[in-house]
Symmetry: C2
Subunit: 391 residues, 2 copies
């Protein structure tokens, strides 16, 4: 086990009707004027935004609104948000939405406290000197951004997807009401589930020895996600299954499942180029990349893949057949993604084999010559993974 720091200071307020507590929570955080940040307007149509505003107004906290966040959120709106916060004297940003809205809120929060172009903070996280406080009312369990220190924004110029990290953007609180997820389109629920599974696998796939405790915690969460998702497919309003998915999405990415180990993150890097180029849902892109990545890196640690197959994907263990068992596990995961209606090939997301060189070019700009840690992927390796994902 490696030395580690684990810091997850977010207050998670979980359960039915919890959005009604938002005003009181904001008051506790000394919010005076809040930017309500949201996406396409579904939070308006569902009445959620009205409930949030009612709760905020009851505490006599002022607010301004900025909607329009799109999936794979853009810098253009971040710039707009920064200006708005400065003009209006906002001291707190409340994201009402999923990972894209929260990530956009985090970028605005950092940008307000920085004199130069906020993109500098993505080039060099050391330049981040602080941020407005951020909190979230979560509507899509997926990205785990409600408890994470990361923000992923797309640079419109060149369509580059960039990521930065800072403890200053970890949300102060996150309200998670599983009932709000009942009406998510099934494609979005499924993409969210692939995203959270991927967040766990990026941590599970490690060369660090003796991290069996977190291995087991990862497996426990993965099994629970798969089980709950199968219930939701039949019964979209099953509260318990929705609650399991919501909480799994949070713990998959608040750091608790990655302590003491080198994490991988190659698949996320490979996927970011896909969603930047084709504007595909992040989770759908991950469903395409992950099985290919796993097959490509199988030989790095056959026993680890075998364990995953047996403990999570219900493959029967066979002595002296480790590789076969491991491959069956990857196959079972891919079948599960298909079962959820997720794409698993380039073609299904409109990606093209002939674009691979362009994807690699951008990957090199964003990450460098080597990608990931479980296997240090060269650009040649990355090409091979993309090729595998074409089939």
């Amino acid at each position: 086990m490696l030395n580690f720091k684990y810091y997850s200071p977010t207050e998670f307020v979980f359960g039915k009707d919890t959005e009604q507590e938002v005003g009181k929570l904001l008051k506790k955080c000394k919010a005076k004027k809040v930017l309500l940040h949201y996406g396409s307007g579904s939070v308006k149509r569902s009445g959620l935004l009205d409930r949030v505003i009612k709760s905020i107004e009851a505490e006599k906290i002022e607010h301004v609104e900025l909607g329009g966040v799109v999936p794979n959120p853009r810098d253009t709106l971040v710039y707009e948000g920064i200006e708005l916060c400065k003009t209006e004297g906002v001291n707190f940003i409340l994201a009402v939405g999923g990972g894209s809205v929260i990530d956009s809120a985090k970028a605005i929060a950092m940008g307000v406290k920085y004199k130069g172009d906020f993109w500098d903070l993505f080039d060099d996280p050391n330049k981040i000197k602080g941020a407005l406080s951020v909190a979230a009312v979560l509507t899509i369990p997926a990205a785990g951004s409600e408890g994470s220190n990361a923000s992923v924004i797309t640079k419109t110029e060149g369509m580059l997807k960039r990521v930065t990290h800072s403890n200053s953007i970890i949300p102060a609180f996150a309200i998670i009401n599983p009932e709000l997820t009942y009406t998510l389109p099934s494609y979005q629920t499924a993409a969210g589930v692939v995203d959270m599974i991927s967040h766990i696998l990026e941590r599970y796939l490690t060369k660090t020895n003796d991290v069996i405790l977190t291995d087991r915690l990862c497996e426990a969460t993965l099994v629970s996600i798969i089980e709950a998702m199968r219930i939701i497919q039949k019964e979209p309003t099953n509260y318990e299954a929705r609650a399991t998915i919501c909480w799994s999405g949070t713990i998959a990415h608040n750091g608790s499942l990655g302590v003491g180990r080198v994490e991988d993150w190659a698949s996320h890097r490979l996927e970011h180029e896909l969603s930047a180029m084709y504007d595909v849902t992040h989770g759908a892109g991950l469903a395409v990349i992950f099985p290919a990545y796993m097959r490509y890196t199988l030989e790095e640690d056959v026993q680890r893949y075998r364990r995953l197959a047996v403990k999570v994907f219900g493959i029967k263990d066979k002595k002296n057949k480790a590789k076969k068992v491991a491959l069956a596990g990857i196959g079972a995961m891919e079948s599960f993604f298909k079962e959820l209606g997720m794409p698993v090939t380039f073609e299904e997301i409109g990606a093209k084999r002939e674009d691979i060189d362009k994807l690699l070019e951008k990957l090199k700009i964003n990450v460098g010559e080597i990608v990931g840690n479980f296997k240090s992927l060269t650009m040649e390796d990355c090409k091979n993974v993309y090729e595998l994902a074409c089939k």
Copy 2:
């Protein structure tokens, strides 16, 4: 799954040599003058306190010392600490030790900010209006106090063991270096392990339905604790096993394994009376109480006990033999405690059957007529559990 709040804001700094970071961490927390609180002096003899002081002085932070915390920490030292902090203008308390030292530090931290007798804060947590900041350099993995909101102090008058809870006493940071635990007496390591197992079982034993995700996380942690402890018994300086035990002790009690469910805590309540009356190590008292409690409450949920037996204690499942499997699991746990050299009967800790009425009397003062939630134990039930624990 019930609505819940989960809040674990402690920064955990885990691994080899991490005590050397204490000065920098204190500085980040704006500590000006620190009370160094510790126990019997083993932290002096081992040189740990010197290393801590060196790190603090390097940051030009002042300090005063208060040693002498005993297991089942007393109010007398808490009063002394409160006075010392006030006289010396201390603004931060650093506990260097195990759960007793941290709990004592927490009580002092609350007491400094309260005008009346600090015991009021144990009678009514609503009276807690704040606390000095507290942090810990952990030397004994057991109580989980380094990440919890609880403090347990023994009232010398009447030898009553009292508990209170407040988010204001959750440590700001906790330094956990598994190497510091190499030299613990094996009895103390074992008692710590029983304590952390108990913290998980108090959460595992619930009537709340549909908490399968946290059930699995509990099981994953329990299995890892047992496995690691068996390694430590043969190899006390096995770093990986020590690290597993240390981190398990923390997550067993930072709230993560109890979300969304009614927790029990009857066994802790029953044990507190034992350690208050006989001044026995808390973990040893729990080793006596838990098997008895589990046998007594078996019928409350045979299937839950059966699952525990199969998933954690390696009992082979048998259809239509749920109760037998469940009982075998409890037996296996008891055998594990014995294997660790822990007592499992009243006699072994010097407790007496004829004292049961006195124990019940104190229990009634401390808790009331009903104890616990998994089964609402009446005083008659509590008597029966104590009786069972005599054998």
